[in-house]
């Protein structure tokens, strides 16, 4: 008896391509994965691009153009399960810094002929445009979490993706706390685990590339950083990077800015 393989589509919006590259970085699993599923639409890897519907759609990148704002609705219709992967798709990415500025002025700054450029004033996550089934965090995503997500979705179970903070990973690795021991600004307490606490392991503070952990207290963290003498503008920048537009980070940066 032959069973149809689940069809997967990989879609790109405004992004660096790093999250979909994570699939190709699964060197040990790629061949097996390609055997288990049908990578029906994955232009970065294959010129054999087939039309939907797809069982799983992986969306990388944020929405920054009118065209993309309508394309995401088409993609949603074509995908049984739709997953936003990475900080751009889940929070708008680093390009969401424009959301606090005049993006027209920014375009004129970069391009000699701004009239050739079509872009929206805001960079927004996929969930602001269509309902999604899951968000996989990270800038970039963890390839092991991506594999777990695919396996779980195909098996019809919930993916085992922890939502606790980076601190848990640090403790588990036996890292000495960089915030306590070195007085380094660290977003670890308010950032979701998944990276393996790599920044503290390299002796630096977490810069929040996995976005807010579940029920984070980002405003208190911002207060604490300020109390320790960190400059107001620096604290604003701490929370305004790859997940700047994620609500708990946005709240903290706006609070710090308003002081």
């Amino acid at each position: 008896m032959t069973k149809t393989k689940p069809r997967i589509g990989v879609f790109k919006f405004a992004s660096c391509d790093g999250c979909q590259l994570s699939l190709l970085d699964l060197e040990d699993e790629l061949i097996a994965l390609a055997g288990a599923v049908d990578l029906a639409f994955f232009p970065e890897m294959s010129s054999h691009m087939r039309k939907g519907p797809y069982d799983i759609g992986l969306v990388e990148g944020s929405v920054t153009t009118h065209h993309d704002a309508s394309r995401i609705h088409e993609i949603r219709k074509q995908c049984k399960t739709l997953v936003a992967i990475g900080a751009c798709a889940t929070a708008g990415g680093i390009q969401a810094l424009r959301n606090w500025h005049d993006s027209k002025q920014w375009v004129s700054h970069v391009y000699a002929h701004p009239e050739y450029i079509q872009t929206l004033g805001m960079s927004t996550p996929i969930s602001e445009h269509v309902p999604i089934d899951f968000e996989l965090r990270g800038c970039p995503v963890s390839k092991h979490q991506l594999l777990e997500l695919l396996s779980a979705t195909l098996a019809g179970r919930r993916p085992n993706i922890p939502t606790y903070s980076v601190c848990m990973e640090c403790k588990r690795k036996g890292n000495v706390c960089v915030a306590v021991a070195q007085h380094v600004a660290c977003l670890g307490p308010a950032t979701q685990a998944g990276c393996g606490a790599i920044c503290p392991s390299f002796g630096r503070g977490c810069y929040g590339c996995f976005g807010p952990a579940e029920t984070p207290n980002t405003v208190i963290l911002a207060d604490q950083l300020l109390r320790e003498g960190r400059a107001q503008q620096t604290v604003v920048r701490d929370f305004r990077s790859f997940n700047a537009w994620a609500w708990p980070y946005r709240q903290a940066s706006e609070k710090a800015r308003s002081l």
């Binding site: 790109k12 919006f13 405004a14 992004s15 660096c16 391509d17 790093g18 999250c19 590259l21 994570s22 190709l24 970085d25 060197e27 061949i31 390609a34 639409f41 232009p43 970065e44 890897m45 294959s46 010129s47 054999h48 691009m49 039309k51 939907g52 990148g61 920054t64 993309d68 394309r71 088409e74 074509q78 990415g93 680093i94 390009q95 424009r98 500025h101 993006s103 920014w106 375009v107 700054h109 970069v110 391009y111 000699a112 002929h113 050739y116 872009t119 800038c139 970039p140 990276c195 790599i198 920044c199 392991s201 390299f202 002796g203 630096r204 810069y207 590339c209 620096t234 920048r237 790859f242």
Partner: protein, 437 residues
Amino acid sequence: MSRVIEPRKKNGTIRVDYMARVEGEGALFIKLKNDQVQDVKLKLFEPPRLFEALLRGRHFSEAPDITARICGICPVAYQMTAVHSIERALGITVHPMVRLLRRLLYAGEWIESHVLHMYMLHAPDFMGYRDFVELARDHPAEAREALRLKKLGNQIMTLLGGREIHPVSVAVGGFYKTPSKSELEPLADELKRALDIVFDKAKFLAGFDYPDFEQTYEFVALSHPSEYPLNEGRLVSSKGLNIDASQYEDYFTEHHVKHSNALHSVIRGRDCYQTGPLARFNLNYSKLPEVARQAAEHCGLRVPCLNPFKSILARAVEVVFALQESLRIIQIYEPPPVPRVPFEIRAAAGNAITEAPRGIQFNRYTFDEQGLIQSVKIVPPTSQNQKRIEEDLKNFVPGIVALPIEEITRRCEQAVRNYDPCISCATHFLKVTLERE
């Protein structure tokens, strides 16, 4: 799906709306009249992310982390060019071992990026496959070795930077943390093993059927007195250019063309040029280690090579170089006394050029007395090669116009891929349209 359609013929126009197997996306527009090429345009419509604007007001210490996000395929190229620009601005000299570690990190990225491009993106073109999965089905042993080699590049980056995409260790003045000697040593065996089998791999690639197509190029690459270039050197060309990074903007300029979001780079008073593996190979052959020169010999690659399709072989030779260089560094490495040197922040401006896997990258940074960035210019390799890709296509298409449209499309895509265009690295996206009058 509006964008994703097979090649189709409509009102005498043949278009492919989406170009596969380039990192990032875009389109190609070719206009023919009586089989003569009238116009070629390479369109890049990756949504602009405005990095040069969003970096203003950020502290320079954040630049390596932020600019890495321009491209997930070559983040180290952005990190390196950023830190070198800032260090040149402040007059910082890093420890010799830090310099070597940066070379090792960059070599890891070259291995990963080159193997990805050679086997997963470009080889399927030469072999008539639509992707690497099809290639792997017919050539499982080659595919396994390619993946193992790619993984080795990623292991180097992960060891030095915590992860392969957007590593976290690069800092102005050095690294946040440097490895111990014993942490690096386990890589040596795998590097030796890879070097033992590379000749077989090179033979596999050398056996492809290469189009008989040569062009006159101005090749541009870094040149260092004693090393194959990665992080530093003077910028030289096959037509006699020899300048410091600080003179880059006097000699090179960018044009914003209507059909593309990527800016077109040209040499002032001259024209387009080629940067990347073939340019480096042609200009720096004598700096390659013996084993890499043997690999070149083995696959019949000689200086000057003017066939852009053979860039895949230049990549293979550079992988051999990167493996050998990694091994050399691991063998002589001793941890530096401190991971990064202390420095004082002051208002300054600086620039640098480094060799990304796909060609030179230029950066200029200006910052104030607090270290806050006032202006940044980033010229990635893809925008530098873009006009040259169009020129190649203008000359390549007349020789293949008699072929069926699917075949013309496939071969044009292959010709574009000679340059390993990382479209997102020019902040961008690629598409193919062929119009007959």
